[in-house]
């Protein structure tokens, strides 16, 4: 069987005929775009890729090793060459003792957050693109090419209660496991050590977060990423609950015309309610998958558990507003009353969450209004500062639903 035919849930988009015309960072751009093109591999703006390449130093003319890595805030699907940061590899490697020699190190320590600004001292060829928060991972993995992605299927495994056991069950020794820890030097060093201890591992599953693959060959790195994701998706399919997904249906879908008319009649009012501080632009999602979730028995309970990937929180907030309304009643006035009550509670909860969790140096509380509103019978309305941003918010919550579906599989 050809390699490309061996995957069931992911698209094999790599073409040697195209890739072989490219060299250096252009091949990294090619690989990144192919990964980003398939939404089963990663979400918009999520994940990052890197290649360690030889480049000519603009000052000395000597060949130097450079880490090319997707820039902070960029998007794999649409990234071009200028979307990648470039850093002298010898300089970023020199950052390691700086971190290791610090008396108090680990996640959330002072030295951990102080490391990221250091990358400005490592910039190759005056490239203004800021590097990803995941740069330590890419630096410390001792392979030329690294892909780090946020696939729904893998996060479903990585967010489940038995994440470590499932990783072993699905991947055996092929894939390492690291529990959740936010990106930084500490987790990079842990992965570096794990690879030393398990030199045959092809990748790692990151608890609550995603996965990474690596190789000294870029196509193999791409294929390994696909393999890790496909194996997770196959496991989820084999354990799918079918009709009983999300506890089964509680409400029937409203007919499309009724649904759309209700949304069109309601949405500008809702926009006014959520745009108390700043105006939002909306995106409506009422496809089959969304309706299955909002009409389900477990939807309200699952929505409280949060979203899929921690880096989605800036857009989706830590939970959506799930409106308590019976669509069978068709009573739109009752729906507005339920939304108003839900909004009041949501804002209170958000403020309490902020006050409970804030640190002395935390940024000021952001807009306490929900950006994802789920309405039984109707679907999801997501909000963002632009159409593009609201689509990203909606996409991220689609991911959350897929993760919850996968994580709920037996």
């Amino acid at each position: 069987m050809n390699k490309q035919d061996s995957y069931k849930f992911v698209k094999y988009l790599w073409r040697d005929a195209e890739a072989d015309k490219l060299q250096g960072v252009d091949r990294l751009v090619y690989r990144s775009n192919r990964l980003g093109e398939d939404l089963t591999l990663t979400n918009t703006g999520g994940g990052n890729t890197s290649s360690k390449l030889m480049e000519k130093d603009p000052l000395t003319g000597e060949q130097v090793e450079v880490l090319w890595i997707k820039g902070s805030g960029g998007d794999l699907r649409t990234a071009k060459r200028d979307g990648f940061a470039s850093l002298y590899l010898d300089k970023i490697r020199a950052m390691k003792p700086l971190y290791q020699n610090h008396p108090e190190r680990g996640p959330k320590t002072e030295i951990e957050d102080a490391m990221h600004p250091m990358y400005s001292h490592c910039v190759f060829n005056l490239n203004p693109r800021a590097c990803s928060i995941d740069t330590p991972l890419h630096t410390l993995v001792p392979y030329h090419h690294v892909d780090h992605l946020h696939p729904n299927s893998v996060i479903a495994i990585a967010a489940s209660v038995n994440q470590e056991r499932l990783t072993r069950e699905i991947y055996g020794d092929d894939v390492l496991y690291v529990p959740w820890q936010r990106p930084g030097f500490d987790i990079g060093l842990k992965i570096e050590q794990l690879i030393k201890d398990h030199p045959h591992a092809k990748g790692v599953l990151l608890g609550h977060h995603g996965m990474s693959s690596w190789s000294n060959d870029d196509r193999t790195c791409y294929e390994t990423a696909l393999e890790i994701i496909d194996r997770a998706a196959r496991y989820i399919e084999a354990h799918d609950k079918g009709e009983k997904t999300f506890g089964g249906p509680k409400y029937q879908h409203l007919p499309e015309e009724t649904r759309r008319r209700a949304i069109a009649g309601l949405i500008s009012w809702l926009r006014g309610q959520v745009s108390v501080y700043k105006r939002f632009v909306g995106t409506v999602q009422d496809d089959e998958k969304m309706l299955r979730f909002v009409n389900s028995v477990d939807g309200p309970r699952l929505a409280e558990l949060g979203t899929s990937c921690p880096d989605h929180f800036l857009r989706t907030k830590i939970k959506p507003l799930f409106v308590d309304w019976n669509p069978a009643s068709g009573d739109l006035d009752a729906l507005k009353t339920a939304i108003l009550a839900g909004l009041v509670q949501y804002r209170k909860d958000y403020e309490a969450y902020y006050n409970r969790c804030k640190h002395p140096d935390s940024p000021a509380m952001r807009d306490p209004n929900p950006t994802v509103v789920l309405i039984p019978g109707l679907g999801m309305i997501a909000w963002g500062k632009s159409k593009s941003e609201s689509r990203v918010t909606a996409e991220f919550y689609n991911c959350a639903i897929e993760v919850m579906r996968g994580a709920g599989s037996d």
Partner: protein
């Protein structure tokens, strides 16, 4: 994941730095603006002007193809955006094209319904659609053409504003409406009976709507002197009729654009500034009226006519 851990990501200083690296918001960011008549002329120029300031543009025209064309031009320039989500029309970019017959209320309602599903609300509505019906060779305007002129230039603008008002009221956020009247609304001109009368009515419609929709929505208008370039109101026959009327020399063999240029130059010379009035000049004034720069102006008609002495109110 526990809430403290979630918080530590949501409010992580490195994530906050990412937010702060984003460019500052533009004047019309977060806004959804409906431009009726966006397929050509002043409407098309307005669509391009407002999107530059960050607005999402709903390009509306009787001619769906031209509405889509303007929307596609915007998307080609600014991109579709990045998120992959949204059902049906809600999976759209910074602009969409919609067909609408503004003389038919149900058509206007359908248009707004599509806007709601696409973007979720509106912040401003601009109407540049209009019609000019010349008299026949005997100088007469048939009743049905008189009615059509008023149906588009007055009633149509009213229906668009009236349906928008329902959305503005429900939304509860301050909004703006800008209509397009004409210098001819106050200048009587031979051969423009129906058009000029309809535009005079539109001028007062602006004031009435401003009263009706206050304080939530400001209603204003621009009053252009003749904008020839890009206008669907200047087909070749009308241009030739005007050149003949003003005794401007021309040849029947000349290209339409050349004839339009001659007429535009003539109109420019009649004004104080001696400058041709372009669609972009109207678009600039419309931008000012839509934005917060003229946030305390409502019920007014702003002339953009290069200074027509006949247009001075006295």
């Amino acid at each position: 994941m526990d809430q403290q851990e979630a918080f530590d990501i949501e409010y992580w200083l490195l994530e906050d730095a990412k937010l702060r690296r984003q460019p500052p918001e533009k004047e019309l960011d977060r806004q959804i603006i409906v431009v009726v008549g966006a397929g050509a002329g002043i409407g098309k120029a307005t669509a391009h002007r407002l999107v530059r300031e960050g607005a999402h543009i709903v390009c509306v025209d009787l001619d769906e193809a031209s509405a889509n064309q303007t929307a596609q031009e915007i998307i080609a320039k600014y991109g579709e955006g990045i998120g992959v989500a949204g059902t049906g029309i809600s999976d759209c970019g910074p602009a969409i094209g919609l067909a609408c017959d503004i003389t038919v209320r149900s058509s206007v309602q359908q248009m707004y319904e599509a806007v709601m599903l696409a973007y979720g609300g509106i912040d401003a509505v601009v109407v540049t659609a209009g019609i000019f019906v010349p008299p026949d060779k005997a100088g007469y305007i048939a009743d049905r053409l008189w009615e059509k002129t008023f149906a588009i230039n007055v009633t149509g603008a009213y229906i668009v504003a009236d349906e928008a008002n329902k959305i503005f009221t429900q939304q509860g956020l301050p909004g703006a409406i800008v209509l397009t009247t004409s210098a001819n609304a106050i200048v009587a001109k031979k051969g423009s009976l129906a058009y000029d009368s309809s535009k005079a009515a539109a001028n007062h419609l602006v004031r009435e709507l401003a009263v009706e929709m206050a304080p939530l929505v400001r209603v204003n208008a621009v009053a252009p002197a003749t904008v020839v370039r890009g206008s669907t109101m200047f087909p070749r026959d009308r241009v030739i009729a005007s050149l003949t009327k003003y005794a401007i020399p021309f040849s029947e063999e000349e290209e339409t654009e050349s004839l339009r240029e001659k007429l535009a130059v003539f109109y420019a010379k009649r004004s104080l500034t001696q400058l041709q009035i372009e669609p972009e000049d109207q678009a600039e004034a419309i931008f000012l009226l839509v934005s917060q720069r003229l946030a305390r102006t409502t019920g007014h008609v702003i002339p953009v006519d290069g200074g027509l002495q006949d247009g001075f109110l006295r």
